[in-house]
Amino acid sequence: MASPGSAIRVPLPAELVDEACRELARALRRQPRGTTVVLDGRRLAALDSLGAARLLRSIAEARNAGLVVRLAQLSEPARRALAEVDPEILEEAAPPPRRHPLAAIGARTLDAAEELSATASLARETGAGLTLPFGPGGIKWERTLQQMNIVGASAVPIVVFISLLVGVVLALNGAAQLRQFGATIFIANLVGISMTREMGPLLTAVIVSGRSGSAIAAEIGTMVISEEIDAMRTMALSPIRFLVVPKILALMLMMPLLTVMSNAAGIFGGYLVGIVGLDLGSDAYLSQTVQALLVTDVLTGLVKSVVFGILIGLVGARRGFAVRGGPEAVGLATTSAVVTSIILCIVANAVFTAFFYYAG
């Protein structure tokens, strides 16, 4: 209870309608911080729930502005309407305390460190799971085969289709330039080398990330929300061994195969442009392609694709395990898994390319 003393009296309107509340808010804003404001309710005849909510909102805003608010001369109906209200709701309406910028930076840094540590731990456990191929506690081969079908076989049509079109586009763009020098046959080199070194692995990674990286995050995220992951842990079953290892192993095995198909489809796209659009001979185009391609180019692409597969799997799993909250969080995790894994694959690709360039 407040004690009598110096206080500003502000009359409450007869009816707490919108306009009257705005007027009240203006009156309260004019008071300096620390002032005790007594809201005089003698004109207030009745107070319905909407009016009570408006009054409480005004009180909360005044308290947030540093005023001490009291109520006086409340009519009996108004008293009844407010007597049921727990004052804690005013504290709930207060803005959260502002964080010092340094504390915010510190918190973000700690979050990032925690994320890094969790990802490293996931990678370590997955690595350990991959080293035990057979026996109890070993790799779940049945699940791995299922996953190979999902991430690999089912992705073949889209990988082939997209890669074919990219091969066609590469050839058409190249033709426009090379024709000026009468060197259209070198389209075979352009398409062959581009596809095997860069485009094949990267295209496959982007497609698999969109198809499987998102699915991994969504599946694990949903299992987190429905406590399935916790249930596995209480049964002393490792979710990483059951869920993550088969998916990452499937990605490691299927990514190179999909990349080979992507390379072949892209080269075939270039071949179609060459023989149909540019009147290059079929034999000439194919022998030019074979001459242009080096085994190391193809192998480099395949090694990259394995690394991309690991990145896609780990990012998807990590985003899934980090899900907290409800279905919306699963959606965000899925988006984040795709975006992060594509960025990481492109960064890894740049690192590989730079490494192979300087390593000769």
Binding site: A2, V85, D86, E88, S226, M235
Partner: protein, 266 residues
């Protein structure tokens, strides 16, 4: 109570636990002996489920210890923790069955993994467990095809798959009609009667509490506010205990009023 010198089946010693900056359990201690049903009571948000998650190692305590048959759950790692957890079964409030597997596969999973049983044997044993909880014939259904009561039973069947010494039940009868709830209570009593399984059941259902409790512990605000036999707990004068048993929302003495706090006297 356990014999002198022998470790109790479950000992929780002064655990403090929470999420982020929030403290949910603040110095909770309790113990369970074989063949005993301990009911943990408390209103929603009192920390009951967190206590179970702490016992089973899902939430690490900030302070205190959880020991199962004398072995500290949180100090153990890898194979040792796996061995401790094999002696514990937990049925989650929403059952938490793996949705991608059929009901019988869910129950067979820990059997195949931990007992090394071949698939068909594990499935047969799982069917036996399902029959024990009254779900014979429902094994081929996916969890999404089961009713709420059936899912809870399937969750219990999975929890008892490895014949654990300690069974943890999180709200086993919440959200069920009285008949189904009664059947699950009888199932819990039946499980205890067939061996020396110790059971910790977290619940706020008075019907269940009256039916199954040997002893009870009541939590409020993350602390134990009453412990002992059900009759002893009921006799506690604490207004929160009385409010709980009388099904009052909040003890009148604790209720705050905006008018009382803000009224200007002058």
């Amino acid at each position: 109570m356990g014999s002198a010198g022998a470790a109790r089946l479950l000992e929780v010693e002064g655990i403090e636990a929470g999420y982020g900056e929030q403290t949910v359990l603040d110095g909770v201690s309790l113990g369970v002996d074989p063949g005993e049903i301990l009911v943990v009571l408390g209103a929603t948000g009192s920390g009951k489920s967190t206590l179970l998650r702490c016992i089973v190692g899902l939430v690490p305590p900030r302070r205190g210890r959880v020991r199962i048959r004398g072995r500290d759950v949180h100090a153990a790692d890898g194979a040792e923790r796996e061995q401790i957890l094999r002696g514990v079964g937990m049925a989650f409030q929403e059952a938490a069955l793996l949705n991608s597997m059929t009901t019988v596969e869910n129950v067979a999973l820990p059997i195949a993994e931990h007992w090394g049983a071949e698939e068909e044997t594990a499935l047969m044993l799982a069917r036996m467990r399902l029959a024990r909880v009254g779900l014979a014939g429902a094994g081929r259904k996916l969890p999404s095809e089961l009713s709420g009561g059936m899912r809870k039973r399937a969750g219990i069947a999975r929890a008892i798959a490895l014949e654990p010494a300690l069974l943890l039940l999180d709200e086993p009868t919440s959200g069920l009609d009285p008949t189904t709830a009664r059947a699950i209570d009888e199932l819990i009593l039946g499980l205890r009667a067939r061996g020396d399984m110790g059971i910790v059941a977290v619940t706020h259902e008075l019907g269940s509490i009256n039916t199954i409790a040997d002893r009870a512990v009541m939590l409020a605000g993350g602390r134990v506010i009453a412990a002992g036999s059900l009759a002893e707990v009921r006799r506690q004068p604490d207004p929160r205990v009385q409010a709980f048993f009388q099904r009052a929302l909040v003890a009148g003495a604790e209720r705050r009023s905006l008018v009382d706090e803000l009224e200007w006297v002058g």
